[in-house]
Assembly symmetry: C2
Homo-oligomer: 519 residues x 2
Amino acid sequence: MRVPLTPLRFLYRARDQFGSKVGIVDAGRSWTYREFSRRCHRLAAILSSWRLPAGSRVALLSYNQHPLLEAYYGVPLAGGILLPLNTRLRAADFRHILNDAEARVLILHPDFLPVVEEIRRDLHSVRRFLLLEPGPSLDWVEPDSYRRLMETGECAPDRDIAGVDEEDVAELFYTSGTTALPKGVMLTHRNLYLHALEVSLALGIREEDTQLHTIPLFHVNGWGTPQFLTCLGGRHVLMKRFHPGDAYRLIQEHGVTFFFLVPTMAISLLNHSERDRYDTSSVRLINLGGAAANPRLVERLEAAFDCRCVAGYGLTECSPVVTLSFPKSHLAVRGERRLALQSMTGYPIPGVELALLDGQGRSLPWNGSDLGEIAIRGDGVMKGYWGQAEPEPTAGNWLRTGDLATIDPDGYVQIVDRKKDIIVSGGENISSLEVERVLLAHPGVLECAVIPVPDQHWGEIPKAVVVPGTPDGVTPKELVSWCRRRLASFKVPRIVELVSDLPKGGTGKILKRELRKRG
Amino acid sequence: MRVPLTPLRFLYRARDQFGSKVGIVDAGRSWTYREFSRRCHRLAAILSSWRLPAGSRVALLSYNQHPLLEAYYGVPLAGGILLPLNTRLRAADFRHILNDAEARVLILHPDFLPVVEEIRRDLHSVRRFLLLEPGPSLDWVEPDSYRRLMETGECAPDRDIAGVDEEDVAELFYTSGTTALPKGVMLTHRNLYLHALEVSLALGIREEDTQLHTIPLFHVNGWGTPQFLTCLGGRHVLMKRFHPGDAYRLIQEHGVTFFFLVPTMAISLLNHSERDRYDTSSVRLINLGGAAANPRLVERLEAAFDCRCVAGYGLTECSPVVTLSFPKSHLAVRGERRLALQSMTGYPIPGVELALLDGQGRSLPWNGSDLGEIAIRGDGVMKGYWGQAEPEPTAGNWLRTGDLATIDPDGYVQIVDRKKDIIVSGGENISSLEVERVLLAHPGVLECAVIPVPDQHWGEIPKAVVVPGTPDGVTPKELVSWCRRRLASFKVPRIVELVSDLPKGGTGKILKRELRKRG
């Protein structure tokens, strides 16, 4: 008696088992899981009334607010594929994505009307534009807003689970494009169901947990939260945009127990002037991801929130979480070693297997020093890229990540660099991440990125772009001598540029591509 | 990139991620997960050397010791189907099961040679008998024992996961036969994989956990422990047979954090004279199952072990766990209400849906009073019964359990009785479980069972068979008047028999069938 794996089962469970519990909180409003489910079913009814073909792509261009969470269930309830868009992209990106995905519907916040107006004549497939909130009356936009339709609309019936093909695509996410043109990552019902079970098991998430949505839901499947927190009946607390002051207020007000952070968010929380005014004692776990962490950051977060803080690694192609850096009990690590380990990439969550491959695809030993490409086999690994042939089938269906790493004898991974971020200088490979880690350890550095710049003699040389962390400043000379004491000489940045900020993508990920363009 | 779901992935994960951790402890010996994996691969090599056809049933007749745990992985590694036998069955049961399953191999502890000798000429399919430990030299038994072969044998290679069909049967378990002839329950690789993720998520099991194997592994998939604890890299502590003194010693010695209990085990732990001599502070969770619990038992266990104690419900056909009775946080239950709720059946774990059906298969409301049959749809629900046609497909693939229950508006189930244990007296339905609960609340009652006995006037009348709990005794008259004050008069037992013990199956489950036969 095989029951198809689909996240829709999580919605039904939340409604049936936690119907009277407040499940969603957003800007002073809240909904029980019964009410939330009703709203999802209303969205499904709206989409069904438009008679879209099965599998139609429904795009959302929304801040990190409750309608986006509703779409995670409302769209597949109606048989559609959810396509969340990163609000920080530009008009040309939206045009590329919407056309590439052949989206039929675009649901958008009125704030994004100008950018959509710019490109709407180039959108070949979009038939319906629906505003989330009442806005200007335009002939190409649906007359009633999402908010209005939610007040009056009918509810669609439950989609019969037995009729769902678990291998069908449920969500389409475009990669952040730090290295190339955005590609659509196809996540199936099965991917999302299994990833939810596995990541929440690895994190130890419980029904009692309340999670603050620091990471936008439109970003790489909201790191799995839309599915796993709903499945377990935990509580979602949304925030329109990340802001440290708002985060502190929401943590105190709703007894938040858990959240994800990228390092730049973590730094802004730690540096927030009114930090001590808030009670954050409910927090028990913080998961850092999206960029390299360091032991000091883990230490400061654990001290500030009196909680456990672990790092991790994921990619859109894996739904996204791949590893988490919990210490393994038998290693009995303490003190500095524990902090170092928790700031590393970690080890795979259940349902994920890793391999370390050399250039010829042969397995390398897990000795903590051999550097290889990480390959992943797991339940969250995507069906493939939208509109492209299946990813080249390698033996046993391993996804090649392009990420270079070591694995130590205890199974802990350390991502050393993106393959494409390796700087090749005089025939030597330089890991930009390694150099960044050394720079970040300097007390005067808040953020930094190391990029290659062309050089006649060496081919490429490393350049550091640094945001100083202290008002009295730090000099390029000082940073070069800091690196010289800690790195092989060929790895020391030849150029250090001090800047006031770095270009960033949707979740604060530094866009090295932009820096490289600037040179 | 779909990766087949199979518990073999849990073995590989334990080996690769927890290779140096002590994973298995048994009678003073211990093995790391790397060593354990090697033993599983040796068993696979033994089986492969016999060139058994794929899907051959390999039966184990073993105490609750490490070779049985090894067989959970070694048999499917070799492409076989594991058939664990309940050591408390009689020769005729073994004959029925081994012939019905057409087992090819029987691996047995030498203690069971006499019972197997009795029936071996009737065993049509068994080709190989392998002793777990050296025993008498017999011409029908393999010359070398399992123990000997483990010392010298080769390891089979990993079974290629990509080649596993997740819908193939991995384990075959015969139902305990409380109501009918034992039937073989077919659990697939997919069932076992998903059940493991889901039950451990619901229980909140972590890598740091150490579980004592109080429930024999041969009983209904060891309640999922062979899979979930291995997947997470937790530690298994085995005990040959359950004995309260041994349990206390092992809890103290190995820092046990979690175990399952049936109520009779719980009572024997609580009544153990040397209880206070042991440090049990490591225990954080006890899960009661297998029979009706009551609030006093939950209270006494929580006090004795200073831990959380919850009840649950499962059946072989569901891999087995279906519900657990954790309080839902938004209900904020306290005191007596909390104990009552934790002693109830609970609510479904992730991946399981329940329905409450009337005699015509229509859904009944969840109002805490309408009594209906529990139907289950979930990832752990078996493929079907061995050798029988697929279970009659009902709409949406629901398994009809024959268990009668109410569901309250908060989603909590209360199993009231097995359909077949309902006593029909003068046209009124009497729940034997309800009467048992009233009797168990009497301080002089240790255990009891209520069964129907034929009656010319009433058709059936309820009879109580009671084991007194105090040395000074309790009289039948006193118990009848106790019931009269608490039950509708037609439910009061007409006959009360005092006995020194009750007939029990493999895990201490009371065999009402035996009692009914005696009348």
